[in-house]
Subunit: 446 residues, 2 copies
């Protein structure tokens, strides 16, 4: 197993990206054509999922509304005391701790440990960087707790049943019992697999998320969606299973490769588009800072993303409707990830291209103004994210994977599309099929 220090890992990947920009971003090409039509503005009264309505129903436990957070000094949220965003799910509620240096505060983790045995699930990239630190945080001043670990290969292509079994094997060989705790240390793949393992081991054990990528910190570690991929589709096998807490130490981003940083920002952009126009505007002004890893800007983006996610999950844990809107761009994106082979594109890269496709389709339906289309293109390009699927994707490949999407109901594919002013979207199967076909044809050569 190759060990890398944080700096060498980050800089080696940066230099690889920088030295071969054309190779690396060739697949982030423009669509064959995007026919921008007129400006069919939809009046706010026709919009089904308005942020104002959602906010009025929102959990009182969200510590600060998005509006009030905007007034905070962004430097406040990167101070050493953790910012806490609460996910309000009745007796399964839990805190998200956000801040710098949180892995040096053992009490934050230790208060959520059940029993005496802990299994840290991580991968061969993140483990060498943070496993010792996490073990120290779990055990310092707490000699009764013993920590085991299982180190999985890194990457989306390993998010499968075979890899998952390694977690069960380790837990069973180590004679873990129901009074144990699984800790996910890594990005979205690790969080999803460790969470599903925790859900299924002995029919459910205690679980903590320590996300170390922007993607996991702003999205996948929050809300209890866990699972693995099937060769025919993403996340088709899994469980809704909530953690005891999510601990986001923003210092872990110091070692994140640039490409992974950008991938996570695709989900940050998503929150702005589907429900938080002010946040989107903030991103437009601060994308350069985010890309330069300005700690305050990153901390603010993470906090505000978590607030949006927590609010949605609190209102619709099991995705009966509202929660599906978090999947803007994901139906197209999952088709790309499956089509190119898991891991060839990062999740956020596929989501970015998928978002452009969903926005294109929304525009074709006459549901949004062309200014939104342009703003989406611009912000994703500034984040160095792709704005079109890779050339190998065909219309048939999209249709084939989209047919097994979890949002299909009785054969009807429902999509998240933008509708109305910036920050509004719909989750619907009631759209003109021609618009979908036109979008697919516009983005695929065949």
């Amino acid at each position: 197993m190759a060990l890398s220090t944080s700096n060498s890992l980050s800089s080696s990947l940066s230099s690889k990206l920088n030295s071969k920009p054309s190779d690396c971003f060739d697949r982030f090409r423009k669509p064959n054509s995007i026919a921008l039509r007129g400006s069919p503005f939809v009046s706010p009264s026709s919009v089904e999922l308005k942020r104002s309505v959602l906010l009025s129903r929102a959990s009182s436990k969200i510590h600060a509304s998005a509006a009030s957070v905007m007034d905070q000094s962004v430097s406040e949220v990167s101070s050493r005391a953790p910012t806490i965003v609460e996910v309000d799910l009745g007796n399964r509620s839990y805190p998200i701790y956000i801040g710098s240096g949180l892995l040096d505060q053992p009490d934050l983790l230790q208060r959520h440990i059940h029993g005496k045995r802990v299994l840290v699930v991580t991968n061969d990239k993140v483990g060498p960087l943070y496993l010792d630190k996490v073990t120290e945080a779990l055990t310092r001043g707490n000699p009764n707790v013993s920590v085991e670990s299982v180190i999985l290969p890194d990457g989306e292509k390993y998010k499968n049943m075979e890899t998952l079994m390694k977690v069960f094997d380790k837990a069973i060989e180590s004679r873990f019992d129901r009074r144990c705790t699984f800790v996910a240390l890594g990005g979205g793949v690790i969080g999803d697999m460790c969470g599903f393992a925790a859900a299924a081991f002995l029919r459910g054990v205690n679980f903590i998320q320590i996300p170390t990528t922007v993607m996991a910190q702003v999205d996948s570690s929050v809300g209890g969606k866990t699972g693995i991929n099937h060769p025919l589709g993403k996340n088709l096998i899994g469980a809704f299973y909530q953690p005891q807490c999510v601990l986001i130490d923003t210092d872990t981003l110091n070692t994140l490769p640039d490409r992974e940083l950008a991938s996570g920002l695709a989900e940050v952009v998503k929150y702005g588009l589907i429900r938080d126009a002010e946040f989107f505007e903030w991103q437009e002004k601060n994308m350069a800072k985010l890309m330069a890893r300005d700690p305050s800007a990153l901390a603010y983006a993470i906090k505000r993303s978590c607030e949006n996610k927590a609010e949605v999950v609190s209102l619709d844990e099991k995705e009966s409707g509202l929660r599906a809107t978090l999947n803007l761009g994901h139906t197209f994106g999952h088709a790309i990830e499956t089509g190119v082979g898991y891991g060839a594109w990062f999740h956020g890269e596929a989501v970015a291209a998928g978002t452009v496709m969903a926005v294109d389709m929304s525009y074709r339906l006459g549901w949004i103004d062309d200014s939104i289309v342009k703003r989406v293109h611009n912000i994703l390009k500034e984040a160095k994210l792709p704005i079109a699927p890779p050339e190998i994707m065909t219309v048939e490949m999209f249709k084939s994977v989209m047919a097994v999407d979890k949002k299909v109901a009785d054969g009807l594919l429902r999509l998240i599309l933008l509708k109305g002013p910036l920050g509004n979207c719909v989750f619907t199967g009631d759209y003109d099929r021609n618009a979908l076909d036109d979008t697919l044809r516009a983005f695929c050569k065949s």
Copy 2:
């Protein structure tokens, strides 16, 4: 795949059993020694889990208490209109339908189907017998519903991840979406695997149980425990996931091999021992009828078992305490099943031997009278069930498997033991370790 008619299947297995009794039952040998000590009766006040207390807390939805059922004519419960036992779990409550000819009443199933697509999960023994009948019941007068099926190999040794993946493969290849229903048609293995597949497919889809063995009808199909085995232990990977309904057509028992019938009766005996002395006494008087497949007696035993199970599950769905008592004999039994190789002994056979071991240990602890020990031996022998583990089991094999039992907490193995008058038990880790060692040594040659 060999197809068998119901009669040939049953009779071929019967004749095999009859022609070679010594081979088949050699492993059902007596323990090396059971040192029956004095009669240390424990006063009822010291008993932790008394049936009277439980009944007073019991769900009002249980249609008839065990006492009133005793007064019913047993012929009533085998009439064509289904008897209904309700499992009371708030918004996840569901009915258990019990009766003869229920698969000829399509409405019973159809009212619980969600969406238009149904996947019947069955095995290569039960499928040839009942799959067509179930398909007919699902679709008669209901042309919108389409039925797919997946036929798994029969037996406990196939209750693993590899076989489970076949269910996911079929559902995904058939493009099933969240609005589908999985139907388990078979015994406990099929029910556990289909249930776990339903829990995990797209993070949870609708699910119906059609148990076709006594074991599944009286125990495993009720209560939502689902899962698969790991090479190192039984049921270590799974979920609590409740069905929409359980449909028990007692006619399916007509094709059940004798050995499987007896296996199921081990769980019937269990209910009497842990919480229903009157039921145990009824069994003592009616075991010959049960073994002769008297329809009325079987229907009554199934109904009363389901009532006991439903009551316990309603009070403690996730097994925080009370529900564990349903595992009398199972900790020893799982060790036997794992030790001899999954499938070599039927689950109920292992539970029977395990029950004798738990009773032996309870007696060594001075918690029960020797009359209970004798009555347990007698009733299990009458049911042609083993009263000792197979010779290959060693003390070390028991200890090794029991160490990964789900009832271990922080390293302490908790057991279900009888304590006090017939029908009372405890679930406890507070026992003299010497008694456990003595029991293991008494039943193992090394």
